[in-house]
């Protein structure tokens, strides 16, 4: 057991993190190589008339956005994703390991908060699982791959929670937790989970009707952008 623990907590963990970071960099570079800056041409001022720059989106824009059309889903998915990303970074146990390995650690959540966040993530996972099964239009495009990915994401949180609660054999749970976390890290850059990175690249950099940023990039694999 100790050897396995040493393996997963040591070299495998490092390898997983390296693959994760390298994979994300690779995906980002690929995104930039597939797109190019397109010069923006503005319409003449006379067409725009007297428009005061607005600081945020209009009420119309909000009503037609994801928040307006799917308020319930948007709130749930936002909370789920924020918790999912924050928890591994600011968990006490992870920061202890970070400190042991590299001599520094980050801010940590109090344990109660960490437990609540874990439960939120697990409940979110259950919500998405049920949604995949019971919502017709989601089911229409769902494949086995989607369920496997959901499992890959849920597994570290489930096993982590079970380990801290000391359900079943602690050592086994811990090793399963670390392994499933490594599987998830490695899966992120190479499966649909890369939407975590791409969401920001797409929504802020690409030029299309719903872009969140100024959006100056377009698809130009053929490099004939005018």
């Amino acid at each position: 057991m100790n050897e396995i623990y040493g393996l997963v907590r040591g070299p495998l963990a490092l390898a997983a993190i390296v693959v994760f970071v390298a994979g994300l960099i690779f995906q980002a570079r690929r995104f930039f190589s597939l797109t190019s800056e397109k010069p923006i041409v503005l319409p003449p001022a006379s067409l725009l008339g007297k428009i005061e720059p607005r600081s945020g989106p209009s009420l119309d824009a909000i009503n037609n956005s994801m928040l307006g059309v799917h308020p319930f889903l948007t709130v749930i998915t936002t909370i789920f994703h924020v918790c999912l990303i924050m928890l591994p970074i600011f968990l006490l146990a992870h920061n202890v390991l970070l400190y042991e390995s590299f001599g520094f650690s980050l801010f940590v959540f109090p344990e109660l908060v960490a437990n609540i966040i874990t439960v939120i993530v697990i409940l979110g996972g259950v919500f998405f699982f049920l949604r995949r099964i019971f919502v017709y239009r989601v089911r229409a495009i769902t494949t086995l791959y989607d369920y496997i990915i959901l499992l890959i994401v849920a597994a570290p949180f489930l096993t982590g929670y079970m380990a801290t609660r000391q359900w079943f054999d602690y050592d086994t749970m811990l090793i399963l937790h670390i392994l499933s976390g490594e599987v998830m890290l490695v899966a992120i850059p190479f499966t649909k989970l890369k939407h975590g990175l791409l969401f920001f690249l797409y929504r802020y950099l690409m030029r299309y009707e719903h872009s969140l940023g100024s959006g100056t990039r377009v698809w130009s694999y053929s490099k004939s952008v005018k």
């Binding site: 994801m66 059309v69 799917h70 239009r137 989601v138 649909k192 690409m206 719903h210 872009s211 694999y221």
Partner: protein, 131 residues
């Protein structure tokens, strides 16, 4: 169907077209997380009472997605079959919204061009009056 060619589909040519655009089509298609949030942004989906056949992701996954899965190894019947998805079910109005930012009409356009390359397109005067 008088004018459309009946010769076998050139699968190598289709495979070539698919391969050439693989980075921006197949890979981006793989980024789709199957969330179905694009559904309500399509007026055709809304007008057809939430029929998933009109959902932007459904249209692309079951036309271009299938073309990529089969690596272009399709017959004329397959292309005629996806005609409905990429012409009848889509007006290329570009109002669809993807939370990840996938450009769905771009993929529908590409799928249409693959069909056109094999002489498969709506017969406007045969009653298939699609845009």
């Amino acid at each position: 169907m008088a004018d459309q060619e009946k010769k076998p589909v050139d699968t190598a040519a289709i495979a070539g077209m698919l391969k050439k655009k693989e980075p921006e089509m197949k890979r981006i298609l793989n980024y789709c997380v199957h969330c179905s949030i694009c559904a309500e942004s399509c007026f055709l989906y809304m007008a057809h009472n939430g029929d998933p056949q009109y959902m932007p992701s459904f249209k692309v996954i079951n036309s271009l997605g299938k073309l990529y899965k089969k690596k272009g190894n399709v017959d004329r019947e397959f292309l005629e079959g996806i005609k409905g998805l990429v012409w009848g079910n889509c007006a290329l109005c570009h109002r669809c919204y993807c939370p990840i930012g996938i450009d769905i009409p771009r993929m529908i356009d590409f799928t249409r061009s693959i069909c056109r390359s094999e002489g498969v397109y709506p017969e406007q005067d045969g009653g298939e009056s699609w845009l």
